[in-house]
Subunit: 573 residues, 2 copies
């Protein structure tokens, strides 16, 4: 084992881990991974141009990954499972396909050495993996762009640095939880008659087993790193099953992880990629394997339920679908509110799990610093704010990114057709300046009435992509009740509101506590409902159908390992 390398890394990353732990208590703003793509220190080895070149070198070649049990290839052609960029070209990458039985056998064997490392050593190895990924953030951002369809800022943030933040957050939490108990101590108990009985005790962390990551296509890194690093730092092996549309970001991740593990004297097979052939149903096959003891899944509610029912041997963490709402009640900054809301709807074409769908507005209108605004007036003004934001195609394309999958385009078309309700503001196609085949659409705004049964069915359904409903409600109370019911029945990850009335605020706070939704109030300017500040904001509550887990919470890591004790007779002091 390369113990010199390992102890050097442990010394190097220990201060960072302790800094992360401090921030996890204070919840203040912090990140070791600069958000500025032009940061001259962090990205000195790979700037934007070099990141683009590195990405180009990946295209149309076999992806080099030395894993056991190789029995074929996934890709390069789309028919063989190769990825196609949402910006309109096939990536042409061929990934190794490996026999799942061979992968799991190699992972079982790999765990022996990893388990005996200290929690700090494992955390340092994880921090080094993240540091190397961070140094290549431009390359990872390009990979995110051409798999998930992110625009450039979204790709550099959610596809790279913020995902790294979520990863390090999980590492720090896992390190802290594993070191709660003393590794060894002597327990002394006074006995009747003044004698002292003593036992030498040790506590040893034991991982649960193999951890399966079933990743999604929209944010494979941001939704994937929490589970990957939480399981890895707690001593488990991790098999990564990427979404067929977004293999590259996780293939790069797995390759870096294997490289660092190898260099530090551990078995690289602790982290393996399980790329999937078309129709292989690999997620289901892996999920029910008796050696798979942890599952992290981000995707549909249907498959989340399937996993919970069919993989009782595993601890299943899910992040599933959400129907998010915003209530407009009153504001002292009407124009800023509209601009903020328009950006929120447009950002990555509303494809974030925290993007709002239902804009709830009392049919009597709202009070603003520009006087009373009618329901129709608010809807028209929001449409105008979208037009202002997205007037220029180049800027619009950067904010919107591309639709990542055909079913998202179908969702937009249905809403734009008027079948769901009157189109208050139509979607339009945007032409990307350099990728004319990219599928890009502006948000469509449809008017619905919560008093109509058909409209209630529509708004209580998740419509992926840039589809928003302006929902007229009879009263503020009815609006709050609708938001609560939607979260409880359909799941929600975020709720927003604009109100200057403390009573309305109080009622909203209660409704969101009841239904387990993060509430954002009166956001204007440079922060948006969809955003989640790692180390400060928790993501998900597990209290509604949007999932059972919370990134950043102790409960996300505590079940991934257990503690086994040894008690030895000792001579009392």
């Amino acid at each position: 084992m390369s113990t010199d390398r390992l102890s050097a890394l442990t010394r190097q990353h220990r201060p960072l881990l302790h800094q992360a732990l401090g921030v996890l208590r204070s919840r203040e703003h912090w990140s070791p991974y600069p958000e500025d793509p032009d940061d001259p220190v962090a990205y000195r080895d790979q700037d934007a141009a070099e990141g683009e070149r590195a990405f180009q070198r990946l295209l149309d070649t076999p992806f080099d990954l030395d894993q056991p049990g190789r029995d074929g290839t996934v890709g390069p052609s789309p028919e063989e499972g190769g990825e196609v960029s949402p910006y309109g070209f096939p990536l042409g990458i061929a990934y190794p396909h490996c026999d799942p039985a061979a992968l799991l056998a190699a992972q079982r064997a790999a765990m022996a050495g990893w388990r005996t490392a200290t929690p700090l050593e494992r955390a340092a190895v994880c921090a080094e993996i993240l540091a190397r990924i961070n140094a290549r953030s431009h390359e990872f951002a390009r990979a995110a762009t051409h798999t998930s369809g992110h625009g450039p800022v979204m790709a550099f943030h959610a596809g790279a640095v913020h995902a790294q933040d979520r990863g390090l957050e999980a590492v720090a939490l896992g390190y802290a939880e594993q070191t709660r108990l003393p590794a060894e101590f002597t327990w002394r108990k006074p006995l009747p008659g003044g004698r002292l009985f003593a036992l030498d005790k040790t506590f040893t962390v034991v991982p649960r087993g193999i951890s399966l990551l079933i990743a999604n296509a929209v944010f494979p890194a941001w939704n994937g790193y929490p589970g990957l690093f939480a399981s890895l730092v707690t001593g488990n092996a991790v098999v990564v099953k990427p979404h067929p549309r977004a293999v590259l970001p996780l293939a790069l991740t797995v390759r870096v992880a294997r490289e660092v593990l190898r260099e530090t004297g551990f078995a690289p097979d602790l982290v393996c990629l399980a790329a999937e052939r078309p129709g292989e149903q690999l997620a289901k096959r892996l999920a029910v394997h008796p050696d798979v003891r942890i599952i992290d899944y981000a995707g549909s509610g249907t498959f989340a339920s399937w996993l919970t029912a069919h993989a009782p041997q595993a601890r299943v963490h899910t992040a599933a679908s959400a129907v998010n709402s915003v209530l407009l009640h009153s504001t002292s900054r009407y124009r800023d509110m509209l601009a903020n809301l328009a950006f929120t709807l447009a950002l990555y074409s509303g494809q974030l799990c925290t993007s709002p769908q239902n804009i709830v507005v009392p049919r009597t209108g709202i009070a603003t610093d520009e006087g009373h605004k009618s329901y129709d007036g608010v809807v028209a003004d929001l449409g105008a704010a979208l037009d202002t934001l997205l007037a220029d195609d180049e800027r619009a394309a950067a904010v919107l990114g591309a639709l990542y999958a055909p079913h998202v385009l179908r969702s937009v078309r249905t809403a734009n057709s008027g079948h769901l309700g009157p189109v208050a503001h139509p979607s339009r196609a945007v032409t990307h300046p350099r990728h004319p085949r990219a599928v890009i659409r502006t948000p469509v705004l449809v008017s619905l009435d919560a008093g109509r049964t058909a409209d209630r069915v529509t708004l209580m359904t998740e419509w992926p992509g840039p589809v928003a409903f302006a929902v007229a409600v009879d009263s503020t109370e009815a609006g709050i009740d609708l938001i609560r019911r939607t979260a409880r029945e359909q799941g929600a990850l975020s709720a927003g509101a604009h109100t200057t009335d403390p009573h309305v605020e109080r009622a909203l706070v209660d409704a969101c506590a009841d239904s387990g939704v993060t509430l954002s109030l009166n956001l204007t300017g440079d922060w948006y409902l969809t955003q989640s500040a790692v180390y400060s904001d928790l993501h998900g509550t597990g209290l509604n159908p949007s999932g059972n887990s919370t990134y950043g919470d102790a409960s996300f890591v505590t079940g991934r390992f257990r503690t086994v004790a040894v008690r030895r007779a000792a001579d009392a002091a």
Copy 2:
């Protein structure tokens, strides 16, 4: 709300809670609840004689418990579900039976006020409940004796003070986990251009819902208090479904809890007793109710699996069956080892979940300070140690307690008949000096050979009560392997060994880490394999079929509540 009473209790119990939190880190010996039944301070209001009188007053009367939805009675006659003391007389207590739907409806309503209390207030209320139970420990001990069949020391410890310890441990853990995050703070992020963006954030604890405790008959308090108090302190309501043989300890507990809740201005229905009519299958009916979001169960592996499969809406914590082993390899204190082991086998008739069943001995014998001892010699000497310990009926009855249920007696009879293997040391009936109808049996020791298939099936099965097997193995390695396999396949909560060889010790430590079992080495004198020191020892690992949960571990409380955030636009400082 009696806020004065509540703030007084909060001030009073806060130092205790913080002391508990300190000990949970240091794991040193500590308890606020004296083990000495004659402690003049703790038990000044109720000494042993007064405890006995209080118990006698409970007999042959209706149990007073003012709960909603009352629709009948459980007991007093055994045919109607009334309890019968293992010491040979019916308790004659009639418990109220309540409509489960009414209980759950009352609990839903009760949670609103409880949720808005602070974590410290909830913890203080829980600590007060435990303090009042502690003051009545003699009465609780008598209730344990005449439901579970404990002897006097076991009843006062596991039936009273140690159960209270497990309860306070859960309260302290729950308090700590709920206060990890700041209740409110301002988050500030520097923006490009030197501006500062700010959000005021709050974190609020939200309970999962109603928590169901399905208790066992052997240690309803010790196995029940962890889940009860972990759920209550984290804001949930708790419905307590006692085992039909052991209602009284939990009925008393529920009554105290309701009394304290009422006095502090909370709804008493936060804690309800769901006593069960014969054949009612109340545990199953409650477990699948959509409002039941947490389940704590102690009992059979079969029902634990049923719950996991049929109650996916709930977080299910299980403590199930165990087949525990001791390896005898070598010792420098042969006589002390035998005496310790004999006591361990006899204590509460081997009915503890940590009682050993398989005494694994190499067929070539073991090395001792008295020279080499053959397998037959060791078995004979262990039998003699049992005889010495249990020679006197009165002392034997105190150590053994009574068999708590007919199936335990059947288990002893089967082993004693020679059907399982040669009886190396037979069980005998013990006559209790004051309860001639008590069913009391000394341990039976049966010789088995791990090389024989039929014997392996026998030893890999859980035999309740005072049934122990002296298992001959080919080698020490084979013995360690058997212990590992038994734990992995059948579940185990404790493993013991006597060895002076560091290599054997190392192999045992690895085997127990692999199979998730607490290992106790070379215990002699005043501490026994079966014992678990609250605040120091964890109980259970969740790594083998003996259950999925660990008392004393953060993972036991973290999933019982969630955190919901509110983010408000703030003016940057």
